[in-house]
Amino acid sequence: MAPPMIDPALFDQLKDNIEKDSSIRKDLEQIIEELNQNVSYTQGVLTKIHSTPRSKYPALLSQVESGIKKELETTTRLAQFASQYPYYKYNYKWGRTLQDAIATVLLHAWLGGMGSDSKPGEVGRLLTLEEVGHVFEVPVNLKDRDAFHITIEEYLLALISVVEDLSRLAMNSVTLGDTELAVQISGFIKDLHGGFQMLNLKNDILRKRVDSVKYAVKKVEDVVYDLSLRNLIPAKDAQ
C-alpha cells in the first residue's frame, strides 16, 4: 500500500498553528484597542493646548501626563506579549497606534513636560529616539535580538504629527498673545525640516508624510511674516 497523498498528522498540525496564530492576533487586537483608547484620550487633552495660555501649561500638562501614564502601562503589556513572537510578523498591527502614543509623549515633552530631577522640562525640548525608549521603557531600533521595540520609522512618523500640531499651535499662540512661542515654533519646525531633508527616502509612507512638513513650514513662516510686518516679534528673538 502506497503512502497517502497527505500525511494524516499534517492537517492537525497546520490547523493548530493557524488557530494559534488567530488567537495571538485576537489578543494583540485587544491590547491595541486599549492603547488606542488611552491615546485618543491623551490626544484629546492635548488639543486644549491651542486655547491655553502658557501660564496655565503646568495644570494642563499634568492632566496629559495622567493620560500618558496609562499609555505607558498598556504599552508595557503590549511589549511583554508581543516579544514572545517574531517582532516583524505582527508589528504592522500596532504601528499606527504606537506612533500616535509616541507623538503624545513628544508633544508633551516639547511643551515642557517630561521633566526629571536631572533634566527639568522646558518648552522646546525634543526627545530623541533613545529618550522616547526610556519613557516607554522599551528598546529602540533593535537589531541584535527579536523583541518589541520602537523603530526609527515610528519615531519619525510621530515627529511629523508633532510638527503638524505645532504649526497649528503657532497660529493659536499668536491669538493668545504669545508671539514669542510662535517664533520659537517657527525656528524648531524649520530646523526639523532641514533634518528631514537629509533623509534618503524611498517611495513609502514615510516619504508621503515627510512631504507634509513643508506645508507646516509655510504655515509658520506666514505667521512669522505677519508678525514681523507689524513689528510684533519680541526683540530678543527678532534676529
Partner: protein, 355 residues
C-alpha cells in the same frame, strides 16, 4: 531647499525648453551638437571670456542642533533600504530559477521515483545556483530580520512550489512543511560551503607567482580592509554557516500553486500517455487533487492576508475541477480516445483564465 521653493517662480533657466517650442532654433551655423546652452530665445549662449563659468556650488545643508540626529537616522534607514534592495534582486533571480525548474518538471510524463536523467540534471544544476543565491541572502535575514524582509523573499514561495512539485512527481505524496524547511536550510548551508570553497581556490592564486595588478595606494588599503573584513566574516561563517529557511506561509502559498502545476501535469500526461498519472491500481492524480482540495477547504482561513488566501483557494478549486473533468473523460471514453487527443477543458467554464 526650503519648502517655500515650491511656490516661488521657477528660475528662468528651467523654462528654456518650453520657450524653444515657440521659436525656431537657429541651426544656421551648422552646429548640430547638443552640448551647448541656449538663452531664453533659443540661441546659443556664448561665454565671451574664456571657459564657461563653473557651476554654482551646491548650497551646503545648513547644520542645526538636530542635524547629527537626522544623519544617524539616515544612515540606519539607508542600511535598511540597501538590505531590502539586495534581497529583492536575489529574490527575483531565485524566482526565475525556480520557474525554470518547474518548466523542466512539466516535461515529466509519469510519476516515478527517478526523474528522467536529463530533467534531473537540469533540476540539480538550477538547485545548485539557487543554493549559492540563498547563501548570499542568509546574512541579511538573520534573527529579527527574517520577518522584516519576508515581503522581499517571495522567491521562497516559488521555490516551495518547485520543491513540492518535484517531490510529488517522485513519490506521489505531499512534502511536509518541516521537510521543506529542512531541505531549504540544507540548500543554504551547502551554498555557503561551496562559496567558501570557491574563495579558497581563488585566494592562493596571487601567491603562485602571478604578478600583482598595480593599484593606487588608496584602493589597496580599502581593498585590504575589505578583505580583512571578508575573511573575518568567512571565519565566522566557517564556524557555523548562516542559514535561512521557509516559513509556514511560504509553504501554504507554495502548495496552493502546486495544485496548478499538478493540474497542468495531469492534463499533458493524460493527453500524451493516454493514462491518468499515478499508480492506477491504487490511486490516480484525480484522487490526489481531491484530497489536496479538501485539505485546504477544511483548514481555517489564515489570518493576515485573507484576500490573497481566498484568491489562491479559488484558483485551486478550479484546478481541482479541471482534473476531475479529466478523470471523467478518461473513465467514460478513455479506451475509444485516440492517443494525443487533448480534452477541451475551457468549454464549460467561460471566462476562465489559465491559472
Amino acid at each position: 531647499m526650503e519648502g517655500k521653493m515650491d511656490d516661488a517662480p521657477a528660475p528662468k533657466r528651467a523654462k528654456i525648453g518650453s520657450e524653444n517650442t515657440s521659436k525656431p532654433i537657429d541651426n544656421s551655423t551648422g552646429n548640430t551638437m547638443s552640448g551647448f546652452k541656449r538663452d531664453r530665445h533659443g540661441n546659443e549662449k556664448r561665454f565671451n571670456n574664456g571657459p564657461r563659468p563653473a557651476p554654482k556650488p551646491k548650497v551646503a545643508v545648513v547644520r542645526n542642533a538636530y542635524t547629527p540626529m537626522f544623519e544617524q537616522l539616515r544612515d540606519e534607514l539607508d542600511a535598511h533600504h540597501d538590505r531590502r534592495d539586495r534581497l529583492g534582486k536575489v529574490s527575483r533571480d531565485i524566482t526565475g530559477l525556480s520557474k525554470k525548474i518547474i518548466f523542466a518538471l512539466q516535461r515529466v510524463r509519469t510519476i516515478n521515483p527517478d526523474l528522467p536523467p536529463q530533467i534531473q540534471a537540469e533540476v540539480d544544476s538550477r538547485l545548485a545556483e539557487i543554493s549559492k543565491l540563498l547563501a548570499t541572502m542568509a546574512p541579511d535575514v538573520q534573527g529579527i530580520n527574517r520577518y522584516r524582509y519576508s515581503r522581499s523573499l517571495m522567491c521562497l514561495e516559488e521555490l516551495a512550489e518547485a520543491l513540492t512539485f518535484a517531490h510529488y512527481l517522485k513519490t506521489q505524496t505531499l512534502l511536509k512543511p518541516d521537510e521543506l524547511s529542512a531541505f531549504v536550510e540544507e540548500l543554504t548551508r551547502k551554498g555557503a560551503v561551496s562559496e567558501d570553497r570557491d574563495k579558497d581556490k581563488d585566494e592562493p592564486m596571487p601567491d603562485a607567482g602571478n604578478t600583482p595588478v598595480p593599484t593606487s595606494g588608496e584602493q589597496e588599503t580599502t581593498d585590504n580592509d575589505n578583505k580583512l573584513a571578508e575573511k573575518e566574516e568567512q571565519r565566522q561563517s566557517k564556524l557555523e554557516p548562516l542559514t535561512m529557511s521557509t516559513t509556514e506561509d511560504d509553504y501554504f502559498y507554495g502548495v496552493f500553486d502546486l495544485s496548478g502545476e499538478m493540474m497542468r501535469f495531469a492534463t499533458t500526461s493524460t493527453a500524451l500517455t493516454g493514462k491518468m498519472a499515478g499508480a492506477e491500481d491504487e490511486r490516480t492524480i484525480v484522487e490526489d487533487m481531491h484530497e489536496l482540495g479538501s485539505f485546504f477547504e477544511m483548514l481555517p482561513m489564515k489570518a493576515g492576508d485573507r484576500k490573497q488566501w481566498e484568491k489562491k483557494l479559488d484558483v485551486m478549486r478550479q484546478s481541482v475541477r479541471k482534473v476531475e473533468r479529466l478523470g471523467y473523460d478518461r473513465m467514460i471514453r478513455g479506451s475509444e480516445r485516440p492517443q494525443g487527443w487533448v480534452p477541451d477543458l475551457t468549454a464549460d467554464q467561460p471566462g476562465d483564465d489559465e491559472e
